[in-house]
Symmetry: C2
Subunit: 357 residues, 2 copies
DNA sequence: CTGAAAGCGCTTACAG
DNA sequence: CTGAAAGCGCTTACAG
């Protein structure tokens, strides 16, 4: 795949297989300008004559020069790392978010590094702080619930580190936010269930430490209210956004005398737990129990019956978060906020309630 | 969380919130040694007197000095990045692999960066090569099927870049391998099904471009042979390690006149596709059809009935791969190969076949 | 609009 | 075992 002769000679020159690398000095010499001028071209400084720029760019292209990220990082006092700091327990969410960010970063100078954290770890903020102090990343992207931690956001501002928060409510200036309208999505779930004729409707929400749990709960409540339906305490359970906690909460809900005919779970993981609880209780889905989830993870469409859920375009959100962050870093002027409204995806886990009572 | 007075003074000195950072020069001055000696301590050089080392280490600790990764990278001509280059389509596999690697990297000087690739992209090897040339990572970790690409391995050797290949057969020197005995796992699946009394047993295997697909197929065949059972062509289908292709392959298998009574799928994703095909065909699992998967992803235990599958400890494999890589990088002498043998996890998707025929 | 000097915080190569 | 000098490949601060 490579010129054999030149490869041989390179090997002779550098036995470790390290090919001679074109540097800014080579380009400066060849283009007959100072290295500072090459630097200006690399960094898109306006202080370069068009003629000079074109010439330098031609030389750069001809020699396949790519500035060394490590050297730039040292001189800039800032690395070309973008950090995803997350604590979302759903692997689907995480992978899609990563893919979205990588979509945007591909072709840029930045690399994605991962910082999974545990908000129950008392040192979790310290871990983020140390990472930022040591590696001085270009910026951080924080999905819920890390995004909801004001202390972390303030710390990043003090450290002069850019960031984007993905969250279900406005908790920062627009240019630093990717907003999701979770409440509206939950309201759609409520309208769907109420519209089918359900009246005894329950809700399993995520941990109270997640703002999204509140938003979804309140949105769901508002949606029900449009149909003059209430969401009493007896019909609510808190769970941990995981399968196991979803099973437990649903077990509990279905053990009562007046069972709900429909359950809206705060995410798909818990909704899938509701399937398991329903089976244990001898209930058919959707005949005896309608189930709605939130997220539309791939698993939703693989369940039987397929899960009706509220879709949030995670990957596209990741793309947009990275785009916004890159804009902040480069100081681009057009910094508007972006907002994603979820949509309900009706599948087979919801139906009219059986006439009972 | 921090000494208030010192934080204030730092803010006054550096308005951008950039706190003065302790460098190797500060430590050298305070410890009254040359910076080269500090460097030796940092890098665990044996050429330091114990007295000197202890003293320098005390000063380092006292001042919370952490060497700048960017500066070290520039001087070393090698960055403190570990790259995961993967093309595995299962999000569960990817997330668990990442978590395992991060377990090991946590506390080290290295950061994990992601390089998802598409082996159908004609430029995919070029993408890896360019990443390595530009970022000079400490090393790469490659799970299947990227690990099975000899061209990539040779390229990395030429570039002098360390790597670890996770694969189901010995394709490199032991110190560069994390081996999995996929064939043995598949043989266990075969023994389990044959032991239950199945005779018409089918296999949906992954893409032929994955060596693991071959290993699992051959292991399964050998396991059946122990029970004098054959695996005829009519009972084999190729699919893409994804849910959708799994559904298709199973549809096809179940459309024939002599339906299999059991199907072993090459991974869980496809096995879950078999559930869907079985339902479409009006078959009950496990009464009419036994199903076995491979991987034991979290979804396996969430299916109904729960999926019998072959478990590979992905996260532990990730940990071990990162450990081996760090050993290679530091030139540690004890470099043995590690090997993981999968185990069958019997759940509820397998049972004795109904007496028919 | 362009450049020469100094510096980012480390390590390598050499000397002792 | 220890250190002074030069260098890694860029950018900042300053001058013109």
């Amino acid at each position: 795949m490579k010129n054999h002769a030149s490869e041989m000679s390179a090997v002779v020159e550098r036995p470790m297989g390290e090919r001679t690398r074109v540097t800014i000095n080579d380009i400066a010499r060849i283009a007959n300008v100072s290295k500072k001028t090459v630097s200006r071209v690399i960094n898109n400084s306006p202080l370069v004559r068009d003629n000079t720029r074109n010439h330098v760019e031609a030389v750069i292209k001809q020699h396949g020069f790519v500035p060394d990220p490590q050297a730039r990082a040292l001189a800039f006092r800032r690395s070309f790392l973008i950090c995803l700091a997350y604590d979302n327990p759903s692997p689907q969410y995480v992978v899609n978010m990563q893919l979205g960010i990588l979509d945007t970063l591909d072709g840029s100078d930045y690399q994605l590094v991962l910082q999974p954290v545990d908000r129950n770890d008392p040192d979790y903020q310290g871990r983020i702080q140390r990472f930022v102090e040591r590696h001085r990343p270009g910026g951080l992207i924080m999905p819920p619930s890390v995004s909801e931690d004001e202390y972390v956001a303030e710390m990043l501002q003090k450290l002069g580190c850019d960031y984007i928060r993905i969250a279900s409510l406005d908790i920062d200036e627009p240019a630093r936010m990717v907003r999701t309208r979770d409440a509206e999505g939950a309201a759609q779930a409520a309208r769907h269930l109420a519209g089918l004729g359900h009246e005894r409707i329950a809700h399993i929400h995520g941990p109270r430490s997640f703002r999204s749990a509140h938003e979804r709960m309140e949105g769901f409540r508002r949606g029900l209210a449009e149909f003059d339906l209430a969401l009493p305490e007896a019909m609510m359970r808190e769970a941990g956004y995981t399968f196991d906690t979803g099973v437990q909460a649903a077990d509990n809900l279905l053990a009562g005398a007046r069972r709900p005919t429909a359950i809206f779970a705060g995410n798909d993981e818990m909704a899938i737990g509701v399937y398991a609880a329903a089976r244990k209780a001898g209930m058919q889905v959707p005949e005896d129990l309608s189930i709605v989830g939130f997220d539309d993870t791939p698993m939703a469409a693989r369940m039987w019956p397929q899960l009706t859920t509220v879709r949030l375009p995670i990957r596209e959100m990741g793309r947009e978060a990275a785009r916004s962050l890159l804009r902040k870093i480069t100081g681009s002027p057009l910094q508007m906020s972006s907002c994603f409204t979820p949509d309900i995806v009706v599948r087979q886990s919801t139906a009219r309630p059986l006439m009972s009572d």
